[in-house]
Protein backbone atom coordinates (compact mmCIF):
# COMPACT_ATOMS: atom_id res chain seq x y z
CA UNK A 1 0.00 0.00 0.00
CA UNK A 2 1.35 3.41 -1.02
CA UNK A 3 -0.59 6.31 0.44
CA UNK A 4 0.13 9.79 1.76
CA UNK A 5 -0.74 8.94 5.34
CA UNK A 6 0.87 8.71 8.77
CA UNK A 7 -0.98 5.79 10.30
CA UNK A 8 -3.92 3.95 8.70
CA UNK A 9 -6.12 4.32 11.80
CA UNK A 10 -5.65 8.08 11.95
CA UNK A 11 -6.60 8.92 8.38
CA UNK A 12 -10.15 10.20 9.04
CA UNK A 13 -9.15 12.43 11.98
CA UNK A 14 -6.08 13.79 10.23
CA UNK A 15 -7.76 14.61 6.93
CA UNK A 16 -10.55 16.41 8.80
CA UNK A 17 -7.95 18.50 10.62
CA UNK A 18 -6.61 19.56 7.23
CA UNK A 19 -10.08 20.25 5.87
CA UNK A 20 -10.83 22.50 8.86
CA UNK A 21 -7.65 24.50 8.34
CA UNK A 22 -8.13 24.78 4.58
CA UNK A 23 -11.75 25.96 4.74
CA UNK A 24 -12.05 27.78 8.06
CA UNK A 25 -14.18 30.46 6.35
CA UNK A 26 -16.83 27.86 5.37
CA UNK A 27 -16.94 25.12 7.98
CA UNK A 28 -15.66 23.84 11.26
CA UNK A 29 -14.90 20.34 12.46
CA UNK A 30 -16.26 19.21 15.81
CA UNK A 31 -14.67 16.28 17.59
CA UNK A 32 -16.11 13.72 20.01
CA UNK A 33 -18.38 12.93 18.34
CA UNK A 34 -17.06 13.88 14.93
CA UNK A 35 -19.07 16.03 12.54
CA UNK A 36 -18.44 18.89 10.12
CA UNK A 37 -20.73 21.90 10.33
CA UNK A 38 -21.28 25.26 8.62
CA UNK A 39 -19.52 28.06 10.49
CA UNK A 40 -22.80 29.95 10.92
CA UNK A 41 -24.92 27.00 12.15
CA UNK A 42 -27.61 26.90 13.32
CA UNK A 43 -29.33 29.32 10.95
CA UNK A 44 -32.50 30.36 12.81
CA UNK A 45 -35.72 29.37 11.03
CA UNK A 46 -33.95 27.48 8.23
CA UNK A 47 -34.59 23.81 7.56
CA UNK A 48 -31.39 21.97 8.43
CA UNK A 49 -29.83 19.54 5.98
CA UNK A 50 -27.60 16.77 7.31
CA UNK A 51 -25.98 13.93 5.47
CA UNK A 52 -23.17 11.55 6.16
CA UNK A 53 -21.54 8.31 5.27
CA UNK A 54 -18.25 6.55 5.24
CA UNK A 55 -15.10 8.52 4.48
CA UNK A 56 -13.22 7.88 1.26
CA UNK A 57 -15.80 9.46 -1.07
CA UNK A 58 -14.53 13.03 -0.82
CA UNK A 59 -15.62 15.63 -1.67
CA UNK A 60 -18.88 13.90 -0.65
CA UNK A 61 -20.09 14.57 2.09
CA UNK A 62 -17.80 16.78 4.18
CA UNK A 63 -16.80 18.81 1.11
CA UNK A 64 -20.43 19.76 0.54
CA UNK A 65 -20.87 21.52 3.86
CA UNK A 66 -21.44 25.24 3.46
CA UNK A 67 -23.91 27.87 2.42
CA UNK A 68 -26.43 26.59 -0.12
CA UNK A 69 -25.76 22.91 0.47
CA UNK A 70 -25.32 20.84 3.67
CA UNK A 71 -25.49 22.34 7.16
CA UNK A 72 -23.55 19.39 8.52
CA UNK A 73 -22.00 16.11 7.43
CA UNK A 74 -21.05 13.12 9.54
CA UNK A 75 -18.00 11.27 8.28
CA UNK A 76 -17.54 7.67 9.36
CA UNK A 77 -14.40 5.59 9.16
CA UNK A 78 -13.33 4.78 5.61
CA UNK A 79 -16.30 3.16 3.83
CA UNK A 80 -18.07 2.71 7.18
CA UNK A 81 -21.23 4.58 8.07
CA UNK A 82 -21.13 7.18 10.84
CA UNK A 83 -22.55 6.31 14.25
CA UNK A 84 -25.83 7.51 15.79
CA UNK A 85 -24.14 9.79 18.34
CA UNK A 86 -22.38 11.69 15.53
CA UNK A 87 -25.59 12.11 13.56
CA UNK A 88 -27.57 13.16 16.62
CA UNK A 89 -24.97 15.77 17.63
CA UNK A 90 -24.82 17.17 14.08
CA UNK A 91 -28.60 17.32 13.87
CA UNK A 92 -28.80 19.22 17.15
CA UNK A 93 -26.05 21.60 16.04
CA UNK A 94 -27.88 22.63 12.87
CA UNK A 95 -31.46 22.67 14.11
CA UNK A 96 -32.60 26.25 13.71
CA UNK A 97 -36.05 25.39 15.03
CA UNK A 98 -37.48 24.35 11.66
CA UNK A 99 -36.52 20.67 11.76
CA UNK A 100 -33.82 18.76 9.94
CA UNK A 101 -33.72 16.62 6.81
CA UNK A 102 -31.42 13.59 6.79
CA UNK A 103 -30.21 12.62 3.32
CA UNK A 104 -29.25 8.95 3.62
CA UNK A 105 -27.69 6.72 1.00
CA UNK A 106 -29.27 3.29 0.74
CA UNK A 107 -26.82 1.06 2.55
CA UNK A 108 -27.83 -1.24 5.37
CA UNK A 109 -25.44 0.35 7.88
CA UNK A 110 -26.25 3.94 6.96
CA UNK A 111 -29.98 3.30 7.24
CA UNK A 112 -29.69 1.68 10.68
CA UNK A 113 -27.37 4.34 12.11
CA UNK A 114 -29.51 7.22 10.78
CA UNK A 115 -32.66 5.50 12.12
CA UNK A 116 -31.15 5.17 15.58
CA UNK A 117 -30.06 8.83 15.43
CA UNK A 118 -33.50 10.00 14.31
CA UNK A 119 -35.03 8.18 17.29
CA UNK A 120 -32.60 9.96 19.62
CA UNK A 121 -33.38 13.37 18.04
CA UNK A 122 -37.10 12.87 18.23
CA UNK A 123 -36.76 12.06 21.93
CA UNK A 124 -35.14 15.48 22.25
CA UNK A 125 -38.00 17.14 20.40
CA UNK A 126 -36.25 17.80 17.10
CA UNK A 127 -38.35 17.06 14.05
CA UNK A 128 -36.37 14.86 11.67
CA UNK A 129 -37.35 13.51 8.27
CA UNK A 130 -35.17 11.15 6.28
CA UNK A 131 -35.01 10.55 2.56
CA UNK A 132 -33.14 7.51 1.30
CA UNK A 133 -31.30 7.91 -2.00
CA UNK A 134 -31.27 4.77 -4.16
CA UNK A 135 -30.33 5.61 -7.74
CA UNK A 136 -27.89 2.90 -8.81
CA UNK A 137 -29.41 1.06 -11.78
CA UNK A 138 -26.65 -1.56 -11.65
CA UNK A 139 -28.44 -3.17 -8.73
CA UNK A 140 -31.60 -5.17 -9.14
CA UNK A 141 -34.24 -3.53 -6.96
CA UNK A 142 -36.13 -6.40 -5.43
CA UNK A 143 -37.25 -7.82 -2.14
CA UNK A 144 -34.27 -10.13 -2.37
CA UNK A 145 -31.56 -7.49 -2.17
CA UNK A 146 -30.91 -4.52 0.09
CA UNK A 147 -32.25 -2.45 -2.81
CA UNK A 148 -30.48 -0.02 -5.07
CA UNK A 149 -27.43 1.75 -3.71
CA UNK A 150 -27.31 5.49 -3.21
CA UNK A 151 -24.65 7.02 -5.44
CA UNK A 152 -24.38 10.08 -7.75
CA UNK A 153 -27.89 11.44 -7.22
CA UNK A 154 -26.84 12.11 -3.62
CA UNK A 155 -24.67 15.00 -4.86
CA UNK A 156 -27.62 16.48 -6.78
CA UNK A 157 -30.00 16.00 -3.83
CA UNK A 158 -27.59 17.75 -1.45
CA UNK A 159 -27.13 20.69 -3.83
CA UNK A 160 -30.83 21.13 -4.66
CA UNK A 161 -32.17 20.57 -1.13
CA UNK A 162 -29.47 22.84 0.28
CA UNK A 163 -30.53 25.59 -2.13
CA UNK A 164 -34.20 25.06 -1.32
CA UNK A 165 -33.58 25.27 2.43
CA UNK A 166 -31.53 28.43 1.89
CA UNK A 167 -34.52 29.92 -0.02
CA UNK A 168 -36.76 29.19 2.97
CA UNK A 169 -38.53 25.95 2.00
CA UNK A 170 -39.97 24.32 5.12
CA UNK A 171 -39.07 20.75 6.11
CA UNK A 172 -42.00 19.12 4.33
CA UNK A 173 -41.24 20.96 1.06
CA UNK A 174 -37.52 20.14 1.21
CA UNK A 175 -38.37 16.50 1.91
CA UNK A 176 -40.79 16.41 -1.06
CA UNK A 177 -38.13 17.96 -3.30
CA UNK A 178 -35.58 15.40 -2.16
CA UNK A 179 -37.96 12.56 -3.01
CA UNK A 180 -38.62 14.12 -6.42
CA UNK A 181 -34.89 14.38 -7.13
CA UNK A 182 -34.33 10.78 -6.06
CA UNK A 183 -37.28 9.60 -8.12
CA UNK A 184 -36.03 11.32 -11.27
CA UNK A 185 -32.32 10.51 -11.06
CA UNK A 186 -30.41 7.40 -12.11
CA UNK A 187 -26.72 6.43 -12.03
CA UNK A 188 -24.35 3.70 -13.03
CA UNK A 189 -20.62 3.22 -12.45
CA UNK A 190 -17.72 1.14 -13.70
CA UNK A 191 -14.20 0.49 -12.46
CA UNK A 192 -10.86 0.06 -14.19
CA UNK A 193 -8.95 -0.62 -10.98
CA UNK A 194 -9.62 -1.54 -7.36
CA UNK A 195 -9.11 0.62 -4.29
CA UNK A 196 -7.28 0.07 -1.02
CA UNK A 197 -8.93 0.85 2.33
CA UNK A 198 -6.05 2.29 4.42
CA UNK A 199 -6.75 0.09 7.44
CA UNK A 200 -7.05 -3.02 5.24
CA UNK A 201 -3.75 -2.32 3.50
CA UNK A 202 -4.44 -4.15 0.26
CA UNK A 203 -6.80 -3.82 -2.68
CA UNK A 204 -10.43 -4.75 -2.02
CA UNK A 205 -10.58 -6.80 -5.23
CA UNK A 206 -8.36 -7.68 -8.17
CA UNK A 207 -9.03 -6.71 -11.76
CA UNK A 208 -6.97 -8.02 -14.65
CA UNK A 209 -5.05 -5.64 -16.92
CA UNK A 210 -7.64 -6.06 -19.70
CA UNK A 211 -10.76 -6.22 -17.49
CA UNK A 212 -13.33 -3.81 -16.12
CA UNK A 213 -16.06 -4.17 -13.51
CA UNK A 214 -19.37 -2.88 -14.85
CA UNK A 215 -21.86 -1.66 -12.26
CA UNK A 216 -19.30 -1.10 -9.52
CA UNK A 217 -20.42 0.42 -6.21
CA UNK A 218 -18.60 3.26 -4.47
CA UNK A 219 -17.00 0.98 -1.87
CA UNK A 220 -15.28 -1.37 -4.27
CA UNK A 221 -18.16 -3.79 -3.86
CA UNK A 222 -18.44 -5.77 -7.06
CA UNK A 223 -20.87 -4.80 -9.78
CA UNK A 224 -23.13 -6.75 -12.03
CA UNK A 225 -20.56 -8.05 -14.48
CA UNK A 226 -16.82 -8.38 -15.01
CA UNK A 227 -15.94 -8.06 -18.66
CA UNK A 228 -13.17 -7.23 -21.12
CA UNK A 229 -12.37 -3.52 -21.29
CA UNK A 230 -14.32 -1.71 -24.02
CA UNK A 231 -13.49 1.52 -25.87
CA UNK A 232 -14.92 4.60 -24.10
CA UNK A 233 -17.57 5.13 -26.78
CA UNK A 234 -18.93 1.63 -26.29
CA UNK A 235 -18.87 1.57 -22.51
CA UNK A 236 -20.47 5.03 -22.32
CA UNK A 237 -23.20 3.86 -24.71
CA UNK A 238 -23.76 0.75 -22.62
CA UNK A 239 -24.01 2.67 -19.32
CA UNK A 240 -26.18 5.39 -20.88
CA UNK A 241 -28.53 2.81 -22.36
CA UNK A 242 -29.05 1.12 -18.99
CA UNK A 243 -29.68 4.46 -17.26
CA UNK A 244 -31.93 5.89 -19.97
CA UNK A 245 -34.13 2.81 -20.19
CA UNK A 246 -34.68 2.70 -16.46
CA UNK A 247 -36.59 5.93 -15.70
CA UNK A 248 -37.17 6.05 -18.67
CA UNK A 249 -35.74 9.28 -20.09
CA UNK A 250 -37.39 10.41 -23.34
CA UNK A 251 -36.77 12.76 -26.25
CA UNK A 252 -37.54 16.34 -25.20
CA UNK A 253 -36.39 15.78 -21.60
CA UNK A 254 -33.92 18.16 -20.02
CA UNK A 255 -31.34 16.66 -17.70
CA UNK A 256 -28.66 17.62 -15.24
CA UNK A 257 -25.77 15.27 -16.00
CA UNK A 258 -22.69 14.21 -14.11
CA UNK A 259 -19.67 12.32 -15.34
CA UNK A 260 -17.91 11.48 -12.11
CA UNK A 261 -14.44 10.12 -11.54
CA UNK A 262 -13.91 7.47 -8.90
CA UNK A 263 -10.84 9.27 -7.58
CA UNK A 264 -8.16 7.85 -9.84
CA UNK A 265 -9.29 8.88 -13.32
CA UNK A 266 -7.68 11.80 -15.18
CA UNK A 267 -10.03 14.65 -16.07
CA UNK A 268 -8.90 14.14 -19.66
CA UNK A 269 -10.67 10.76 -19.69
CA UNK A 270 -13.73 12.11 -17.89
CA UNK A 271 -14.18 14.85 -20.50
CA UNK A 272 -13.73 12.24 -23.22
CA UNK A 273 -16.57 10.20 -21.67
CA UNK A 274 -18.66 13.36 -21.24
CA UNK A 275 -18.25 14.08 -24.96
CA UNK A 276 -19.52 10.61 -25.80
CA UNK A 277 -22.42 10.98 -23.39
CA UNK A 278 -23.62 14.35 -24.67
CA UNK A 279 -23.39 13.09 -28.27
CA UNK A 280 -25.60 10.11 -27.36
CA UNK A 281 -28.10 12.31 -25.53
CA UNK A 282 -28.30 14.83 -28.40
CA UNK A 283 -29.03 11.96 -30.76
CA UNK A 284 -32.02 11.13 -28.56
CA UNK A 285 -33.11 14.82 -28.33
CA UNK A 286 -32.34 14.88 -24.60
CA UNK A 287 -30.87 18.27 -23.69
CA UNK A 288 -28.18 18.57 -21.06
CA UNK A 289 -29.24 21.71 -19.21
CA UNK A 290 -26.46 21.63 -16.61
CA UNK A 291 -23.53 19.32 -15.97
CA UNK A 292 -20.67 18.35 -13.65
CA UNK A 293 -17.52 16.68 -14.93
CA UNK A 294 -14.95 15.75 -12.31
CA UNK A 295 -14.49 13.93 -9.00
CA UNK A 296 -17.61 14.44 -6.88
CA UNK A 297 -18.33 11.07 -5.28
CA UNK A 298 -15.22 8.99 -5.21
CA UNK A 299 -14.00 5.61 -4.07
CA UNK A 300 -10.51 6.36 -2.75
CA UNK A 301 -8.00 5.89 -5.61
CA UNK A 302 -10.23 3.75 -7.80
CA UNK A 303 -10.04 4.46 -11.53
CA UNK A 304 -13.27 4.39 -13.48
CA UNK A 305 -16.30 6.61 -13.78
CA UNK A 306 -19.97 6.88 -13.09
CA UNK A 307 -22.70 8.60 -15.03
CA UNK A 308 -25.68 10.25 -13.34
CA UNK A 309 -28.67 11.75 -15.12
CA UNK A 310 -31.42 13.73 -13.41
CA UNK A 311 -34.55 14.62 -15.32
CA UNK A 312 -34.83 18.26 -14.33
CA UNK A 313 -37.83 20.55 -14.21
CA UNK A 314 -37.84 24.37 -13.92
CA UNK A 315 -37.68 24.25 -10.12
CA UNK A 316 -34.63 21.98 -10.11
CA UNK A 317 -32.84 24.05 -12.75
CA UNK A 318 -33.44 27.26 -10.81
CA UNK A 319 -32.28 25.70 -7.53
CA UNK A 320 -29.21 24.31 -9.31
CA UNK A 321 -28.18 27.85 -10.31
CA UNK A 322 -28.57 29.24 -6.78
CA UNK A 323 -25.34 30.29 -5.06
CA UNK A 324 -23.33 27.60 -3.32
CA UNK A 325 -20.17 27.97 -1.26
CA UNK A 326 -18.62 24.68 -0.16
CA UNK A 327 -15.15 23.16 -0.58
CA UNK A 328 -16.52 20.85 -3.29
CA UNK A 329 -18.97 23.06 -5.21
CA UNK A 330 -18.79 26.83 -5.51
CA UNK A 331 -20.61 29.18 -7.82
CA UNK A 332 -22.74 32.32 -7.88
CA UNK A 333 -21.05 33.82 -4.83
Amino acid sequence: MKKLINHPQNVPAEFLAGLALAHADILKVCLDPVYVVRVDAPVPGKTGIVSGGGSGHEPMHVGYVGKGMLDAACPGQVFTSPTPDQIEAATRAVNGGAGVLHIVKNYTGDIMNFEMAAELCQERGIEVRAVVINDDVAVEDSLYTAGRRGVGVTVFAEKLCGAAAQRGYDLARVEALCRKVNGNGRSMGMALTSCTVPAAGKPTFELGEDEMEMGIGIHGEPGRERMPLLPAAELTARMAATILADLPFRGGDEVIAMVNGMGGTPLMELYLVYGELERILRGLRIRVARRLVGNYITSLEMAGCSITLLKADDEMRALWDDPVLTPGLQWGI
Partner: protein
Protein backbone atom coordinates in the same frame (compact mmCIF):
# COMPACT_ATOMS: atom_id res chain seq x y z
CA UNK B 1 -22.60 -22.99 37.22
CA UNK B 2 -23.84 -19.43 37.38
CA UNK B 3 -22.33 -16.41 35.68
CA UNK B 4 -21.30 -13.40 37.74
CA UNK B 5 -19.91 -10.03 36.76
CA UNK B 6 -16.29 -11.34 36.71
CA UNK B 7 -17.28 -14.04 34.18
CA UNK B 8 -19.10 -11.49 32.01
CA UNK B 9 -16.06 -9.22 32.05
CA UNK B 10 -13.82 -12.18 31.25
CA UNK B 11 -16.01 -12.98 28.21
CA UNK B 12 -15.66 -9.41 26.94
CA UNK B 13 -11.91 -9.49 27.50
CA UNK B 14 -11.72 -12.72 25.49
CA UNK B 15 -13.90 -11.19 22.76
CA UNK B 16 -11.50 -8.28 22.43
CA UNK B 17 -8.64 -10.75 21.90
CA UNK B 18 -10.70 -12.92 19.55
CA UNK B 19 -11.67 -10.00 17.30
CA UNK B 20 -8.10 -8.67 17.33
CA UNK B 21 -6.79 -12.12 16.33
CA UNK B 22 -9.44 -12.59 13.65
CA UNK B 23 -9.38 -9.03 12.34
CA UNK B 24 -7.70 -10.01 9.10
CA UNK B 25 -9.79 -13.12 8.51
CA UNK B 26 -13.09 -11.25 8.99
CA UNK B 27 -11.87 -8.44 6.75
CA UNK B 28 -10.86 -10.92 4.05
CA UNK B 29 -14.27 -12.59 4.18
CA UNK B 30 -15.80 -9.12 3.86
CA UNK B 31 -13.52 -8.25 0.92
CA UNK B 32 -14.99 -11.12 -1.04
CA UNK B 33 -18.63 -10.07 -0.78
CA UNK B 34 -18.77 -6.74 1.06
CA UNK B 35 -16.66 -3.71 1.71
CA UNK B 36 -13.58 -5.06 3.49
CA UNK B 37 -14.08 -3.48 6.89
CA UNK B 38 -15.79 -6.00 9.18
CA UNK B 39 -12.69 -7.24 11.02
CA UNK B 40 -11.35 -3.71 11.36
CA UNK B 41 -14.68 -2.48 12.78
CA UNK B 42 -15.14 -5.36 15.24
CA UNK B 43 -11.57 -4.98 16.48
CA UNK B 44 -12.03 -1.23 16.94
CA UNK B 45 -15.39 -1.76 18.67
CA UNK B 46 -14.25 -4.30 21.23
CA UNK B 47 -11.05 -2.38 21.89
CA UNK B 48 -13.32 0.57 22.72
CA UNK B 49 -15.39 -1.74 24.95
CA UNK B 50 -12.27 -2.70 26.86
CA UNK B 51 -11.28 0.95 27.31
CA UNK B 52 -14.79 1.93 28.40
CA UNK B 53 -15.03 -0.87 30.97
CA UNK B 54 -11.60 0.04 32.35
CA UNK B 55 -12.42 3.75 32.54
CA UNK B 56 -15.88 3.33 34.07
CA UNK B 57 -16.19 -0.03 35.83
CA UNK B 58 -19.90 -0.93 35.87
CA UNK B 59 -21.49 -1.89 39.17
CA UNK B 60 -23.65 -4.79 37.98
CA UNK B 61 -23.99 -7.24 35.10
CA UNK B 62 -26.79 -5.29 33.46
CA UNK B 63 -24.73 -2.10 33.40
CA UNK B 64 -21.81 -4.01 31.87
CA UNK B 65 -24.05 -4.84 28.91
CA UNK B 66 -25.25 -1.24 28.70
CA UNK B 67 -21.67 0.04 28.55
CA UNK B 68 -20.83 -2.52 25.87
CA UNK B 69 -23.85 -1.45 23.81
CA UNK B 70 -22.95 2.23 24.01
CA UNK B 71 -19.31 1.59 23.12
CA UNK B 72 -20.23 -0.56 20.13
CA UNK B 73 -22.88 1.85 18.84
CA UNK B 74 -20.40 4.73 19.09
CA UNK B 75 -17.30 3.03 17.73
CA UNK B 76 -18.20 0.31 15.25
CA UNK B 77 -20.30 2.08 12.62
CA UNK B 78 -21.40 0.18 9.54
CA UNK B 79 -24.23 -2.28 10.01
CA UNK B 80 -22.40 -4.24 12.69
CA UNK B 81 -22.42 -1.30 15.14
CA UNK B 82 -26.19 -0.89 15.41
CA UNK B 83 -26.75 -4.65 15.21
CA UNK B 84 -24.30 -5.76 17.91
CA UNK B 85 -25.13 -2.58 19.85
CA UNK B 86 -28.81 -3.51 19.81
CA UNK B 87 -27.90 -7.08 20.84
CA UNK B 88 -26.21 -5.85 24.02
CA UNK B 89 -28.84 -3.16 24.66
CA UNK B 90 -31.62 -5.78 24.62
CA UNK B 91 -29.49 -8.22 26.61
CA UNK B 92 -29.09 -5.51 29.25
CA UNK B 93 -32.84 -4.93 29.36
CA UNK B 94 -33.45 -8.69 29.76
CA UNK B 95 -30.75 -9.11 32.40
CA UNK B 96 -32.11 -9.60 35.93
CA UNK B 97 -30.67 -7.46 38.70
CA UNK B 98 -28.78 -10.30 40.32
CA UNK B 99 -25.12 -10.77 41.16
CA UNK B 100 -25.13 -14.14 39.43
CA UNK B 101 -27.27 -15.24 36.52
CA UNK B 102 -28.42 -18.82 35.90
CA UNK B 103 -28.63 -20.83 32.69
CA UNK B 104 -32.23 -19.72 32.10
CA UNK B 105 -31.21 -16.05 32.46
CA UNK B 106 -28.32 -16.49 30.04
CA UNK B 107 -30.56 -18.07 27.41
CA UNK B 108 -33.17 -15.34 27.98
CA UNK B 109 -30.67 -12.58 27.40
CA UNK B 110 -29.25 -14.19 24.27
CA UNK B 111 -32.84 -14.55 23.07
CA UNK B 112 -33.61 -10.88 23.72
CA UNK B 113 -30.39 -9.81 22.01
CA UNK B 114 -30.96 -11.96 18.95
CA UNK B 115 -34.58 -10.74 18.64
CA UNK B 116 -33.20 -7.21 18.76
CA UNK B 117 -30.88 -7.98 15.84
CA UNK B 118 -33.84 -9.37 13.89
CA UNK B 119 -35.85 -6.21 14.48
CA UNK B 120 -33.04 -3.77 13.73
CA UNK B 121 -31.78 -5.49 10.61
CA UNK B 122 -35.13 -6.77 9.29
CA UNK B 123 -33.42 -9.92 8.01
CA UNK B 124 -34.65 -13.50 8.32
CA UNK B 125 -32.88 -16.84 8.45
CA UNK B 126 -31.42 -17.76 5.05
CA UNK B 127 -30.59 -14.17 4.07
CA UNK B 128 -26.87 -14.89 4.60
CA UNK B 129 -26.41 -12.70 7.67
CA UNK B 130 -25.42 -12.89 11.34
CA UNK B 131 -28.82 -14.45 11.99
CA UNK B 132 -27.84 -17.61 10.15
CA UNK B 133 -25.40 -18.33 12.96
CA UNK B 134 -27.47 -16.80 15.78
CA UNK B 135 -30.92 -18.31 15.13
CA UNK B 136 -29.76 -21.96 15.03
CA UNK B 137 -27.65 -21.24 18.12
CA UNK B 138 -30.67 -19.84 19.95
CA UNK B 139 -32.71 -22.92 19.02
CA UNK B 140 -29.98 -25.23 20.29
CA UNK B 141 -29.61 -23.28 23.53
CA UNK B 142 -33.36 -23.31 24.18
CA UNK B 143 -33.50 -27.07 23.58
CA UNK B 144 -30.55 -27.54 25.93
CA UNK B 145 -32.34 -25.51 28.60
CA UNK B 146 -35.58 -27.48 28.16
CA UNK B 147 -33.64 -30.71 28.54
CA UNK B 148 -32.15 -29.51 31.79
CA UNK B 149 -28.56 -29.33 30.49
CA UNK B 150 -25.83 -27.46 32.35
CA UNK B 151 -24.94 -23.94 31.24
CA UNK B 152 -21.66 -25.21 29.78
CA UNK B 153 -23.52 -27.83 27.71
CA UNK B 154 -26.10 -25.25 26.61
CA UNK B 155 -23.42 -22.84 25.44
CA UNK B 156 -21.47 -25.62 23.73
CA UNK B 157 -24.62 -26.64 21.85
CA UNK B 158 -25.12 -22.98 20.88
CA UNK B 159 -21.56 -22.65 19.61
CA UNK B 160 -21.76 -25.90 17.65
CA UNK B 161 -25.03 -24.81 16.02
CA UNK B 162 -23.60 -21.36 15.27
CA UNK B 163 -20.58 -22.99 13.65
CA UNK B 164 -22.78 -25.14 11.43
CA UNK B 165 -24.94 -22.10 10.63
CA UNK B 166 -21.86 -20.07 9.75
CA UNK B 167 -20.64 -22.78 7.36
CA UNK B 168 -24.12 -23.05 5.83
CA UNK B 169 -23.92 -19.39 4.73
CA UNK B 170 -21.32 -20.42 2.11
CA UNK B 171 -24.03 -21.96 -0.05
CA UNK B 172 -26.51 -19.11 0.48
CA UNK B 173 -27.25 -16.17 -1.79
CA UNK B 174 -27.24 -12.91 0.18
CA UNK B 175 -30.57 -11.07 0.43
CA UNK B 176 -29.52 -8.36 2.88
CA UNK B 177 -26.56 -6.06 3.32
CA UNK B 178 -23.94 -5.16 0.79
CA UNK B 179 -23.36 -8.76 -0.26
CA UNK B 180 -26.89 -8.81 -1.72
CA UNK B 181 -25.70 -6.49 -4.49
CA UNK B 182 -23.65 -9.36 -5.88
CA UNK B 183 -26.67 -11.54 -6.45
CA UNK B 184 -25.69 -15.12 -7.29
CA UNK B 185 -22.01 -14.21 -7.08
CA UNK B 186 -22.37 -14.07 -3.28
CA UNK B 187 -22.79 -17.86 -3.32
CA UNK B 188 -19.63 -19.73 -2.38
CA UNK B 189 -18.44 -17.22 0.22
CA UNK B 190 -18.83 -17.46 3.98
CA UNK B 191 -20.71 -14.53 5.50
CA UNK B 192 -18.45 -12.34 7.68
CA UNK B 193 -21.33 -11.34 10.00
CA UNK B 194 -22.28 -14.96 10.65
CA UNK B 195 -18.59 -15.56 11.35
CA UNK B 196 -18.26 -12.79 13.92
CA UNK B 197 -21.48 -14.01 15.55
CA UNK B 198 -20.11 -17.53 15.79
CA UNK B 199 -16.95 -16.14 17.42
CA UNK B 200 -19.14 -14.29 19.96
CA UNK B 201 -20.89 -17.52 21.01
CA UNK B 202 -17.74 -19.61 20.87
CA UNK B 203 -16.04 -17.18 23.27
CA UNK B 204 -18.97 -17.43 25.70
CA UNK B 205 -18.84 -21.23 25.57
CA UNK B 206 -15.08 -21.26 26.08
CA UNK B 207 -15.15 -18.72 28.91
CA UNK B 208 -18.13 -19.92 30.92
CA UNK B 209 -17.47 -23.64 30.94
CA UNK B 210 -16.26 -24.16 34.50
Amino acid sequence: MAVGKPEVLKWLEVLQQVYAENRQWLTELDSAIGDADHGINMDRGFTAVKAELAAHPPSEIRSVFQSVATALIRHVGGAAGPLYGTFFLRAAAACPRKTEIEAADVVALFQAGIKGIEQRGKAVGGDKTMLDALLPALDAMRKGLENGCSLAAILDAGAVAAHAGMLATVAMQAHKGRASYMGARSIGHQDPGATSSYLLLKAAADTWRS
